[in-house]
Protein backbone atom coordinates (compact mmCIF):
# COMPACT_ATOMS: atom_id res chain seq x y z
CA UNK A 1 0.00 0.00 0.00
CA UNK A 2 1.14 3.52 -0.74
CA UNK A 3 2.08 5.41 2.42
CA UNK A 4 1.93 9.17 2.56
CA UNK A 5 3.08 10.83 5.76
CA UNK A 6 1.39 14.18 6.20
CA UNK A 7 2.07 14.92 9.85
CA UNK A 8 5.42 16.71 9.71
CA UNK A 9 4.34 19.27 12.29
CA UNK A 10 3.89 16.42 14.78
CA UNK A 11 7.32 14.97 14.06
CA UNK A 12 9.68 14.28 11.19
CA UNK A 13 11.82 11.29 10.22
CA UNK A 14 15.44 11.59 11.32
CA UNK A 15 17.60 12.30 8.29
CA UNK A 16 20.25 9.67 7.49
CA UNK A 17 23.00 12.32 7.70
CA UNK A 18 21.79 13.11 11.21
CA UNK A 19 21.67 9.48 12.29
CA UNK A 20 25.19 9.04 11.00
CA UNK A 21 26.51 11.93 13.11
CA UNK A 22 24.66 10.65 16.15
CA UNK A 23 26.10 7.18 15.76
CA UNK A 24 29.63 8.51 16.26
CA UNK A 25 28.62 9.83 19.64
CA UNK A 26 26.81 6.67 20.63
CA UNK A 27 29.74 4.44 19.75
CA UNK A 28 33.19 6.07 19.78
CA UNK A 29 32.73 9.42 21.51
CA UNK A 30 30.64 8.29 24.45
CA UNK A 31 32.60 10.18 27.10
CA UNK A 32 31.07 12.48 29.70
CA UNK A 33 31.51 16.05 28.43
CA UNK A 34 32.23 17.16 32.00
CA UNK A 35 35.17 14.79 32.33
CA UNK A 36 38.37 16.72 32.09
CA UNK A 37 40.37 14.44 29.86
CA UNK A 38 40.54 12.62 26.50
CA UNK A 39 37.21 10.92 26.09
CA UNK A 40 35.34 13.74 27.75
CA UNK A 41 36.96 16.29 25.48
CA UNK A 42 35.69 14.59 22.32
CA UNK A 43 32.12 14.69 23.62
CA UNK A 44 32.52 18.31 24.71
CA UNK A 45 33.74 19.19 21.23
CA UNK A 46 30.63 17.66 19.67
CA UNK A 47 28.37 19.77 21.88
CA UNK A 48 30.37 22.94 21.32
CA UNK A 49 30.26 22.55 17.56
CA UNK A 50 26.51 22.00 17.58
CA UNK A 51 26.11 25.06 19.76
CA UNK A 52 28.16 27.19 17.39
CA UNK A 53 26.20 26.01 14.39
CA UNK A 54 22.82 26.75 15.92
CA UNK A 55 23.93 30.08 17.35
CA UNK A 56 25.21 31.11 13.95
CA UNK A 57 21.95 30.13 12.24
CA UNK A 58 19.92 32.19 14.71
CA UNK A 59 22.25 35.20 14.64
CA UNK A 60 23.16 34.57 18.28
CA UNK A 61 26.33 33.96 20.28
CA UNK A 62 27.14 30.39 21.31
CA UNK A 63 26.97 31.34 25.00
CA UNK A 64 23.35 32.32 24.48
CA UNK A 65 22.25 28.80 23.46
CA UNK A 66 21.19 26.38 26.21
CA UNK A 67 20.34 22.83 25.21
CA UNK A 68 17.21 21.29 26.69
CA UNK A 69 15.24 18.06 26.45
CA UNK A 70 12.99 19.55 23.77
CA UNK A 71 10.67 22.37 22.82
CA UNK A 72 8.45 21.84 25.85
CA UNK A 73 11.28 22.24 28.35
CA UNK A 74 12.59 25.27 26.43
CA UNK A 75 9.15 26.93 26.51
CA UNK A 76 8.75 26.23 30.22
CA UNK A 77 12.24 27.44 31.00
CA UNK A 78 11.57 30.68 29.12
CA UNK A 79 8.15 31.44 30.53
CA UNK A 80 8.57 30.22 34.11
CA UNK A 81 12.17 31.31 34.23
CA UNK A 82 11.49 34.88 33.14
CA UNK A 83 8.36 35.16 35.27
CA UNK A 84 9.98 33.97 38.50
CA UNK A 85 13.21 35.90 37.98
CA UNK A 86 11.44 39.20 37.30
CA UNK A 87 8.40 39.03 39.56
CA UNK A 88 9.67 41.90 41.68
CA UNK A 89 9.15 44.20 38.70
CA UNK A 90 5.61 43.04 38.07
CA UNK A 91 3.35 40.05 37.76
CA UNK A 92 1.63 40.56 34.44
CA UNK A 93 2.27 38.33 31.43
CA UNK A 94 0.86 38.56 27.92
CA UNK A 95 0.51 35.56 25.63
CA UNK A 96 -2.01 34.38 23.04
CA UNK A 97 -4.94 32.01 23.18
CA UNK A 98 -3.43 29.86 20.41
CA UNK A 99 -0.06 28.97 21.94
CA UNK A 100 1.13 25.38 22.25
CA UNK A 101 0.21 23.78 25.57
CA UNK A 102 3.86 24.08 26.62
CA UNK A 103 3.32 27.84 26.87
CA UNK A 104 -0.42 27.91 27.54
CA UNK A 105 -0.43 25.47 30.45
CA UNK A 106 2.71 27.03 31.92
CA UNK A 107 0.92 30.38 31.93
CA UNK A 108 -2.06 28.76 33.62
CA UNK A 109 0.28 27.35 36.25
CA UNK A 110 1.71 30.83 36.76
CA UNK A 111 -1.81 32.18 37.26
CA UNK A 112 -2.16 29.76 40.15
CA UNK A 113 1.11 31.17 41.52
CA UNK A 114 -0.27 34.68 41.63
CA UNK A 115 0.66 35.99 38.21
CA UNK A 116 -1.90 37.67 35.97
CA UNK A 117 -1.98 36.49 32.38
CA UNK A 118 -3.69 38.08 29.38
CA UNK A 119 -4.47 35.53 26.67
CA UNK A 120 -4.80 37.57 23.49
CA UNK A 121 -7.64 36.68 21.11
CA UNK A 122 -7.01 36.05 17.41
CA UNK A 123 -8.76 36.95 14.17
CA UNK A 124 -11.02 34.35 12.52
CA UNK A 125 -7.94 33.70 10.34
CA UNK A 126 -5.90 32.75 13.40
CA UNK A 127 -3.64 35.79 13.70
CA UNK A 128 -2.98 37.96 16.73
CA UNK A 129 -3.74 41.66 16.26
CA UNK A 130 -0.91 44.00 17.21
CA UNK A 131 -3.52 46.53 18.46
CA UNK A 132 -4.90 43.96 20.90
CA UNK A 133 -1.41 43.32 22.14
CA UNK A 134 -0.70 47.02 22.61
CA UNK A 135 -3.94 47.52 24.47
CA UNK A 136 -3.07 44.65 26.80
CA UNK A 137 0.26 46.17 27.84
CA UNK A 138 0.47 47.37 31.43
CA UNK A 139 2.97 49.06 33.66
CA UNK A 140 3.60 45.73 35.40
CA UNK A 141 3.93 43.60 32.25
CA UNK A 142 7.19 41.69 32.58
CA UNK A 143 6.94 39.08 29.85
CA UNK A 144 5.35 38.61 26.44
CA UNK A 145 5.29 35.16 24.81
CA UNK A 146 4.04 34.78 21.24
CA UNK A 147 4.62 31.85 18.92
CA UNK A 148 6.17 32.52 15.54
CA UNK A 149 4.06 29.99 13.64
CA UNK A 150 1.02 28.20 15.00
CA UNK A 151 1.35 24.43 15.00
CA UNK A 152 -2.28 23.68 14.10
CA UNK A 153 -3.25 26.16 11.43
CA UNK A 154 0.21 27.30 10.32
CA UNK A 155 -0.44 31.02 10.66
CA UNK A 156 2.58 33.32 10.89
CA UNK A 157 2.24 35.75 13.77
CA UNK A 158 3.38 39.40 13.72
CA UNK A 159 6.30 38.74 16.06
CA UNK A 160 8.57 41.43 14.57
CA UNK A 161 6.10 44.19 15.42
CA UNK A 162 5.38 42.80 18.85
CA UNK A 163 9.09 42.37 19.51
CA UNK A 164 9.78 45.95 18.55
CA UNK A 165 7.26 47.23 21.07
CA UNK A 166 8.67 44.95 23.78
CA UNK A 167 12.18 46.16 23.09
CA UNK A 168 11.08 49.81 23.38
CA UNK A 169 9.35 49.16 26.66
CA UNK A 170 12.08 46.92 28.04
CA UNK A 171 9.75 43.93 28.39
CA UNK A 172 11.17 40.43 27.94
CA UNK A 173 9.95 38.83 24.71
CA UNK A 174 9.79 35.07 24.20
CA UNK A 175 9.18 33.50 20.80
CA UNK A 176 8.20 29.85 20.41
CA UNK A 177 9.91 29.19 17.08
CA UNK A 178 9.41 25.42 17.14
CA UNK A 179 7.28 25.47 13.98
CA UNK A 180 9.06 28.26 12.14
CA UNK A 181 12.75 27.42 12.47
CA UNK A 182 13.95 25.75 9.30
CA UNK A 183 10.95 26.92 7.27
CA UNK A 184 11.18 30.72 7.40
CA UNK A 185 14.05 32.97 8.53
CA UNK A 186 14.46 33.10 12.31
CA UNK A 187 16.92 35.72 13.52
CA UNK A 188 16.86 36.71 17.17
CA UNK A 189 17.79 40.32 16.44
CA UNK A 190 15.26 40.83 13.68
CA UNK A 191 12.56 39.39 15.91
CA UNK A 192 13.81 41.35 18.91
CA UNK A 193 13.54 38.10 20.83
CA UNK A 194 15.13 37.80 24.26
CA UNK A 195 14.16 34.15 24.54
CA UNK A 196 13.46 31.74 21.70
CA UNK A 197 12.65 28.02 21.68
CA UNK A 198 13.39 25.38 19.07
CA UNK A 199 13.01 21.62 18.95
CA UNK A 200 15.11 19.16 16.95
CA UNK A 201 12.47 16.60 16.02
CA UNK A 202 10.50 19.08 13.95
CA UNK A 203 13.45 19.62 11.60
CA UNK A 204 14.45 16.01 10.86
CA UNK A 205 16.50 15.70 14.04
CA UNK A 206 16.04 13.40 17.03
CA UNK A 207 13.23 13.59 19.58
CA UNK A 208 14.06 14.73 23.10
CA UNK A 209 16.41 17.62 22.24
CA UNK A 210 15.84 21.31 21.81
CA UNK A 211 17.31 24.58 22.90
CA UNK A 212 16.49 27.89 24.41
CA UNK A 213 18.15 31.04 23.20
CA UNK A 214 18.69 33.41 26.13
CA UNK A 215 19.83 36.89 25.14
CA UNK A 216 22.83 38.03 27.15
CA UNK A 217 21.62 39.96 30.18
CA UNK A 218 18.13 38.47 30.27
CA UNK A 219 17.28 37.35 33.78
CA UNK A 220 15.84 33.83 33.94
CA UNK A 221 15.53 31.43 36.84
CA UNK A 222 16.59 27.84 36.27
CA UNK A 223 13.94 25.16 35.86
CA UNK A 224 15.94 22.68 37.91
CA UNK A 225 19.14 22.25 39.83
CA UNK A 226 22.25 20.07 39.85
CA UNK A 227 25.62 19.97 38.10
CA UNK A 228 27.43 22.82 36.38
CA UNK A 229 26.52 21.84 32.79
CA UNK A 230 25.48 24.41 30.16
CA UNK A 231 27.30 27.22 31.97
CA UNK A 232 25.31 26.40 35.11
CA UNK A 233 22.01 27.13 33.41
CA UNK A 234 20.74 23.61 32.71
CA UNK A 235 22.09 20.76 34.83
CA UNK A 236 22.24 17.07 33.96
CA UNK A 237 24.59 14.98 31.86
CA UNK A 238 24.07 16.19 28.31
CA UNK A 239 22.29 14.16 25.64
CA UNK A 240 25.45 14.36 23.54
CA UNK A 241 24.34 12.29 20.55
CA UNK A 242 21.01 14.11 20.47
CA UNK A 243 22.64 17.52 20.61
CA UNK A 244 25.06 16.64 17.83
CA UNK A 245 22.15 15.37 15.73
CA UNK A 246 20.26 18.60 16.43
CA UNK A 247 23.21 20.66 15.19
CA UNK A 248 23.44 18.67 11.99
CA UNK A 249 19.69 18.81 11.37
CA UNK A 250 19.61 22.58 11.89
CA UNK A 251 22.50 23.12 9.53
CA UNK A 252 20.86 21.08 6.77
CA UNK A 253 17.44 22.65 7.30
CA UNK A 254 18.74 26.17 6.83
CA UNK A 255 20.93 25.21 3.90
CA UNK A 256 17.99 23.76 2.00
CA UNK A 257 15.35 26.18 3.26
CA UNK A 258 14.97 28.20 0.06
CA UNK A 259 14.25 25.36 -2.31
CA UNK A 260 12.24 23.39 0.23
CA UNK A 261 9.93 26.31 0.89
CA UNK A 262 9.29 26.74 -2.78
CA UNK A 263 8.50 23.08 -3.29
CA UNK A 264 6.30 22.79 -0.21
CA UNK A 265 4.32 25.93 -1.03
CA UNK A 266 3.48 24.48 -4.42
CA UNK A 267 2.39 21.16 -2.99
CA UNK A 268 0.40 22.88 -0.25
CA UNK A 269 -1.49 25.06 -2.68
CA UNK A 270 -2.18 22.15 -4.99
CA UNK A 271 -3.60 20.15 -2.11
CA UNK A 272 -5.79 22.98 -0.87
CA UNK A 273 -7.10 23.82 -4.31
CA UNK A 274 -7.74 20.18 -5.16
CA UNK A 275 -9.72 19.53 -2.00
CA UNK A 276 -11.76 22.69 -2.42
CA UNK A 277 -12.55 21.75 -5.97
CA UNK A 278 -13.55 18.15 -5.26
CA UNK A 279 -15.35 18.38 -1.94
CA UNK A 280 -18.30 20.53 -0.90
CA UNK A 281 -18.89 22.08 2.53
CA UNK A 282 -15.16 22.47 3.11
CA UNK A 283 -13.42 25.28 4.98
CA UNK A 284 -9.74 26.21 5.03
CA UNK A 285 -8.72 27.01 8.60
CA UNK A 286 -6.14 29.75 9.07
CA UNK A 287 -5.06 32.62 6.91
CA UNK A 288 -4.44 31.47 3.32
CA UNK A 289 -1.53 33.87 2.77
CA UNK A 290 0.17 34.52 6.11
CA UNK A 291 0.72 30.80 6.37
CA UNK A 292 3.71 28.50 6.72
CA UNK A 293 4.66 26.63 3.54
CA UNK A 294 3.73 23.14 4.72
CA UNK A 295 0.39 23.51 6.51
CA UNK A 296 -3.01 22.47 5.22
CA UNK A 297 -5.79 22.58 7.81
CA UNK A 298 -9.29 22.00 6.46
CA UNK A 299 -12.65 21.21 7.98
CA UNK A 300 -15.52 19.26 6.48
CA UNK A 301 -19.09 19.63 7.62
CA UNK A 302 -20.90 16.38 8.55
CA UNK A 303 -17.65 14.48 9.07
CA UNK A 304 -16.03 13.70 12.39
CA UNK A 305 -12.25 14.19 12.44
CA UNK A 306 -11.21 10.97 14.07
CA UNK A 307 -13.11 8.70 11.71
CA UNK A 308 -11.69 10.77 8.88
CA UNK A 309 -8.16 10.15 10.20
CA UNK A 310 -8.88 6.48 10.65
CA UNK A 311 -10.13 6.20 7.10
CA UNK A 312 -7.13 8.08 5.77
CA UNK A 313 -4.82 5.82 7.79
CA UNK A 314 -6.43 2.78 6.19
CA UNK A 315 -5.41 4.27 2.85
CA UNK A 316 -1.87 4.84 4.13
CA UNK A 317 -2.29 8.57 4.70
CA UNK A 318 -1.16 9.83 8.11
CA UNK A 319 -2.51 13.15 9.35
CA UNK A 320 -3.91 14.66 12.54
CA UNK A 321 -7.06 16.37 13.69
CA UNK A 322 -8.31 18.98 16.09
CA UNK A 323 -11.43 16.98 16.88
CA UNK A 324 -12.16 16.26 20.52
CA UNK A 325 -12.22 12.54 19.92
CA UNK A 326 -8.69 12.45 18.55
CA UNK A 327 -6.93 14.27 21.30
CA UNK A 328 -8.11 11.82 23.92
CA UNK A 329 -9.37 14.77 25.90
CA UNK A 330 -12.99 15.75 25.51
CA UNK A 331 -12.24 19.23 24.26
CA UNK A 332 -11.77 20.12 20.63
CA UNK A 333 -8.80 22.20 19.49
CA UNK A 334 -8.30 25.34 21.58
CA UNK A 335 -6.86 26.99 18.47
CA UNK A 336 -9.92 26.45 16.25
CA UNK A 337 -12.12 27.42 19.20
CA UNK A 338 -10.18 30.66 19.70
CA UNK A 339 -10.57 31.40 15.98
CA UNK A 340 -14.32 31.05 16.38
CA UNK A 341 -14.60 28.18 13.90
CA UNK A 342 -18.27 27.00 14.08
CA UNK A 343 -18.60 23.75 15.99
CA UNK A 344 -19.97 21.85 12.99
CA UNK A 345 -16.61 22.54 11.35
CA UNK A 346 -14.37 22.10 14.38
CA UNK A 347 -15.15 18.44 14.80
CA UNK A 348 -14.43 17.73 11.18
CA UNK A 349 -11.00 19.28 11.01
CA UNK A 350 -7.92 17.58 9.62
CA UNK A 351 -4.36 18.89 9.57
CA UNK A 352 -2.00 17.74 6.85
CA UNK A 353 1.56 19.01 7.16
CA UNK A 354 3.94 18.38 4.31
CA UNK A 355 7.62 17.54 4.41
CA UNK A 356 10.71 16.96 2.37
CA UNK A 357 9.81 13.46 1.22
CA UNK A 358 6.39 14.40 -0.16
CA UNK A 359 5.90 14.50 -3.92
CA UNK A 360 3.34 15.62 -6.47
CA UNK A 361 2.26 12.00 -6.77
CA UNK A 362 1.54 11.94 -3.04
CA UNK A 363 -0.78 14.89 -3.45
CA UNK A 364 -2.47 13.30 -6.46
CA UNK A 365 -3.04 10.17 -4.43
CA UNK A 366 -4.51 12.09 -1.51
CA UNK A 367 -6.81 14.00 -3.85
CA UNK A 368 -7.89 10.73 -5.38
CA UNK A 369 -8.92 8.93 -2.20
CA UNK A 370 -10.04 11.86 -0.07
CA UNK A 371 -13.42 12.59 -1.71
CA UNK A 372 -14.58 8.95 -1.43
CA UNK A 373 -13.73 8.90 2.24
CA UNK A 374 -15.66 12.07 2.95
CA UNK A 375 -18.60 10.78 0.91
CA UNK A 376 -18.70 7.49 2.76
CA UNK A 377 -18.61 9.15 6.18
CA UNK A 378 -21.23 11.68 5.21
CA UNK A 379 -23.47 8.85 4.02
CA UNK A 380 -23.29 7.44 7.53
CA UNK A 381 -24.02 10.76 9.20
CA UNK A 382 -27.52 11.53 10.51
CA UNK A 383 -26.78 15.21 9.96
CA UNK A 384 -26.14 15.06 6.25
CA UNK A 385 -28.81 15.62 3.62
CA UNK A 386 -27.68 15.20 0.09
Amino acid sequence: MKRVYLDHSATTPVRPEVVEEMMKYLTDNWGNPSSVYSRGREARKGIDEAREKIAHLLGANPQEIIFTSGGTEADNYAVMGAAFANQKKGKHIITTSIEHHAVLDTCKFLERQGFEVTFLPVTPEGIVRVEDFERALRQDTILVSVMHVNNEVGTIQPVEEIGRVCREKGIIFHVDAVQSFGKIPVNVDELNADLLSISAHKIYGPKGVGCLYIRKGTKVQKLFYGGAQERRRRPGTENVAGIVGFGKAAELAIKEMGEETEKLTKLRDKLIAGLQEKISDIKLNGDPVQRICNNVNVSFKYVEGESLLLSLDMKGIEASSGSACTSGSLDPSHVLTAMGVPFEFIHGSVRMTLGRDNTEEDIDYVLEVFPEIVDRLREMSPLYNK
Binding site: E304, G305, S307, L310, F343, M380, S381, P382, L383
Partner: protein, 124 residues
Amino acid sequence: MYSEVVMDHFTNPRNVGEMEDADAVADVGNLSCGDTTRIYIKVKDDVIEDIKFKTFGCGAAIASSSIATEMVKGKTLDEALKITTEEIVDALGGLPPAKVHCSVMAADAIKKAIENYREKNKED
Protein backbone atom coordinates in the same frame (compact mmCIF):
# COMPACT_ATOMS: atom_id res chain seq x y z
CA MET B 1 -5.13 1.45 19.12
CA TYR B 2 -8.36 -0.23 17.99
CA SER B 3 -9.01 -3.98 17.97
CA GLU B 4 -9.56 -5.88 14.73
CA VAL B 5 -13.25 -6.18 15.51
CA VAL B 6 -13.56 -2.41 15.83
CA MET B 7 -11.70 -1.88 12.58
CA ASP B 8 -13.90 -4.43 10.83
CA HIS B 9 -17.10 -2.75 12.02
CA PHE B 10 -15.73 0.66 11.21
CA THR B 11 -14.76 -0.39 7.69
CA ASN B 12 -17.84 -2.49 6.97
CA PRO B 13 -20.51 -1.21 9.29
CA ARG B 14 -23.58 -3.49 9.52
CA ASN B 15 -27.07 -2.01 9.38
CA VAL B 16 -25.96 1.43 8.36
CA GLY B 17 -28.49 3.55 6.56
CA GLU B 18 -31.99 4.98 6.78
CA MET B 19 -35.38 3.29 7.02
CA GLU B 20 -38.37 4.73 5.21
CA ASP B 21 -41.02 2.79 7.07
CA ALA B 22 -39.51 2.69 10.55
CA ASP B 23 -41.80 2.02 13.51
CA ALA B 24 -39.65 4.28 15.67
CA VAL B 25 -36.66 6.60 15.40
CA ALA B 26 -34.41 8.06 18.09
CA ASP B 27 -31.56 10.56 18.14
CA VAL B 28 -28.96 10.81 20.92
CA GLY B 29 -25.88 12.89 21.41
CA ASN B 30 -25.43 16.39 20.17
CA LEU B 31 -23.31 17.97 17.58
CA SER B 32 -21.51 20.39 19.87
CA CYS B 33 -19.74 17.52 21.57
CA GLY B 34 -19.03 15.95 18.22
CA ASP B 35 -21.08 12.75 18.44
CA THR B 36 -24.62 11.91 17.39
CA THR B 37 -26.38 8.65 16.55
CA ARG B 38 -29.78 7.99 15.02
CA ILE B 39 -31.47 4.60 15.32
CA TYR B 40 -34.42 3.32 13.24
CA ILE B 41 -36.29 0.18 14.28
CA LYS B 42 -38.93 -2.02 12.70
CA VAL B 43 -40.80 -4.10 15.25
CA LYS B 44 -43.02 -7.13 14.72
CA ASP B 45 -44.56 -9.18 17.57
CA ASP B 46 -42.42 -7.34 20.09
CA VAL B 47 -39.27 -8.39 18.24
CA ILE B 48 -36.78 -6.07 16.51
CA GLU B 49 -37.19 -7.26 13.00
CA ASP B 50 -34.95 -4.68 11.41
CA ILE B 51 -32.68 -1.92 12.63
CA LYS B 52 -30.60 0.80 10.97
CA PHE B 53 -28.28 3.44 12.28
CA LYS B 54 -26.56 6.62 11.24
CA THR B 55 -23.65 7.94 13.30
CA PHE B 56 -21.60 11.08 13.21
CA GLY B 57 -18.64 10.33 15.44
CA CYS B 58 -15.29 8.71 15.86
CA GLY B 59 -14.29 5.20 14.86
CA ALA B 60 -15.35 3.79 18.21
CA ALA B 61 -18.77 5.42 17.95
CA ILE B 62 -19.40 4.03 14.46
CA ALA B 63 -18.20 0.54 15.37
CA SER B 64 -20.28 0.56 18.56
CA SER B 65 -23.41 1.46 16.62
CA SER B 66 -22.71 -1.25 14.10
CA ILE B 67 -22.10 -4.05 16.59
CA ALA B 68 -24.93 -2.97 18.91
CA THR B 69 -27.47 -3.08 16.11
CA GLU B 70 -26.24 -6.58 15.25
CA MET B 71 -26.57 -7.65 18.85
CA VAL B 72 -30.20 -6.58 19.23
CA LYS B 73 -31.51 -7.54 15.80
CA GLY B 74 -33.98 -10.40 16.20
CA LYS B 75 -34.22 -9.89 19.95
CA THR B 76 -37.40 -9.05 21.81
CA LEU B 77 -37.74 -5.47 23.00
CA ASP B 78 -37.24 -6.53 26.61
CA GLU B 79 -34.07 -8.40 25.74
CA ALA B 80 -32.82 -5.49 23.68
CA LEU B 81 -33.37 -3.07 26.54
CA LYS B 82 -30.96 -5.07 28.68
CA ILE B 83 -27.98 -4.49 26.42
CA THR B 84 -25.20 -2.64 28.27
CA THR B 85 -22.24 -0.58 27.26
CA GLU B 86 -19.96 -3.18 28.84
CA GLU B 87 -21.38 -5.88 26.58
CA ILE B 88 -20.85 -3.69 23.55
CA VAL B 89 -17.25 -2.91 24.53
CA ASP B 90 -16.61 -6.61 25.19
CA ALA B 91 -18.07 -7.60 21.86
CA LEU B 92 -15.75 -5.11 20.20
CA GLY B 93 -12.76 -6.77 21.84
CA GLY B 94 -12.26 -3.80 24.12
CA LEU B 95 -11.82 -0.07 23.57
CA PRO B 96 -9.16 2.41 24.72
CA PRO B 97 -10.29 3.88 28.07
CA ALA B 98 -10.76 7.36 26.57
CA LYS B 99 -13.12 5.89 23.98
CA VAL B 100 -15.53 3.97 26.19
CA HIS B 101 -17.83 6.96 26.50
CA CYS B 102 -18.33 6.86 22.72
CA SER B 103 -20.01 3.48 22.93
CA VAL B 104 -22.52 4.62 25.53
CA MET B 105 -24.35 6.37 22.72
CA ALA B 106 -25.23 3.14 20.94
CA ALA B 107 -26.94 1.54 23.93
CA ASP B 108 -28.68 4.80 24.74
CA ALA B 109 -29.98 5.24 21.20
CA ILE B 110 -31.41 1.72 21.08
CA LYS B 111 -33.14 2.21 24.42
CA LYS B 112 -34.56 5.51 23.35
CA ALA B 113 -35.87 4.03 20.09
CA ILE B 114 -37.64 1.25 21.99
CA GLU B 115 -39.09 3.76 24.43
CA ASN B 116 -40.29 5.91 21.57
CA TYR B 117 -41.87 2.83 20.01
CA ARG B 118 -43.68 1.87 23.20
CA GLU B 119 -44.77 5.43 23.84
CA LYS B 120 -46.20 5.63 20.32
CA ASN B 121 -48.02 2.29 20.56
CA LYS B 122 -49.48 3.18 23.97
CA GLU B 123 -50.95 6.30 22.45
CA ASP B 124 -52.55 4.46 19.58
